[in-house]
């Protein structure tokens, strides 16, 4: 099946294919984030009661995102797409620092380091794809304001071990949560935009 039967004019990856790839990637990123969180939790966080402090602790909580199916279906799909873009952008910086800080972590297992690097790379790849998708769904509409700044680097470098461990725990907990949100919203958007909500 030739990819561009009529030559280069108008020859591009279809929206349906873009969504297929984005959903596969978001699913993969969340699975990795979950595994990384669980591994860190088992190895470093047992019995420290970090979960109670993790409440209200994500740097992206300023981005008001839908909390259930009805809300997610009521919001306009372009706004939801831009929210996904905003959450993804908000993770570029922390993921970059996570990789370097995990490297300086005493006996951090390679598996956590590999996952941090893989997530950092795939997150950038998904961001590129989402910008392409928004470009096709709503041409001329790349909003740059939706974005939440991260200022957690100092806490990852604190001398006190318990505080530092909690900072990592909280970052991985938020990554697991936000990557799940992105994956969930993209699967909803794909069914809505490509399959007319009849997946």
């Amino acid at each position: 099946l030739p990819i561009c039967p009529s030559g280069s004019a108008g020859c591009q990856v279809s929206l349906g294919n873009l969504f297929d790839r984005a959903v596969k990637l978001s699913h993969y990123i969340h699975s990795l984030s979950s595994e990384m969180f669980n591994e860190f939790d088992e190895r470093y966080a047992q019995g420290r009661g970090f979960i109670t402090k993790a409440i209200n602790g994500c740097h992206t909580s300023s981005l008001t995102t839908p909390e259930d199916k009805e809300q997610a279906q009521q919001i306009h799909h372009v706004d939801l797409l831009n929210l996904v873009l905003g959450v993804l952008r908000s993770w570029n910086d922390p993921l970059l620092h996570l990789v370097s800080e995990v490297q300086s972590f005493k006996e951090a297992p390679d598996t956590i380091l590999w996952k941090a690097m893989e997530i950092e790379e795939q997150n950038k790849r998904l961001l590129e794809g989402m910008e392409k998708i928004v470009g096709q769904v709503h041409p001329g509409e790349i909003e740059n304001e939706v974005y939440s700044k991260w200022s957690g680097l100092p806490s990852l470098q604190m001398a006190d071990e318990d505080s530092r461990l909690f900072a990592f725990y909280n970052l991985l907990h938020c990554l697991r949560r936000d990557s799940h949100k992105i994956d969930n919203y993209l699967k909803l958007l794909k069914c809505h935009l490509i399959h007319d909500s009849n997946c």
Partner: protein
Amino acid sequence: QPPGKPEIVRCRSPEKETFTCWWKPGSDGGLPTSYSLFYSKEGDKPINECPDYRTAGPNSCYFDKKHTSLWAIYNITVKATNKMGSNTSEPHYVDVIYIVQPDPPVNLTLEVKKQVDGKPYLLLKWSPPPLADVKSGWFTLEYELRLKPEEEEEWKTFFAGQQTQYTIFSLNPGKKYIAQVHCKPDHGEWSEWSSENYVQVPNDIEMKDM
């Protein structure tokens, strides 16, 4: 004396839209003891009481859609009270997205069919659990089925991805096969196995694999 300390034993969401928690009472101190479940949700301060103690049966609290938020940590406790005093469980922290376990798939059917070259194959079909909203994309399910000749011990499992049908080629003629199917959300736990269904592979089917 005052009641023993109750314990929240399990919380589960069947479709990422509602969820239920169950608790195990402690000793009742020989006196009539009542139980109340309290929760607070990440992001808002007030402590609320369980919205529905009945729908999910005894020692349970059912959170309907209106009371269920995803991506938010619920801090849940259960308090046992009798005339002599009360006792509160340890807090139980829940984020609904990590307690998702669907109901089993339904309407599993098995049919022996023949290929063009006469060779038989088994076509299994099923439907997603009714509660799960797969159509909108809110819930993505993957399926796995297991099959074995009736008299055998060992099941053979087949992963069917997101399909709701599966074909199995290498069959034994004259055998009665049993099949079950279960499902898993994209990020969550496997459901229980569905009820069993059977099919009898006729004897006269010509069976040359090699």
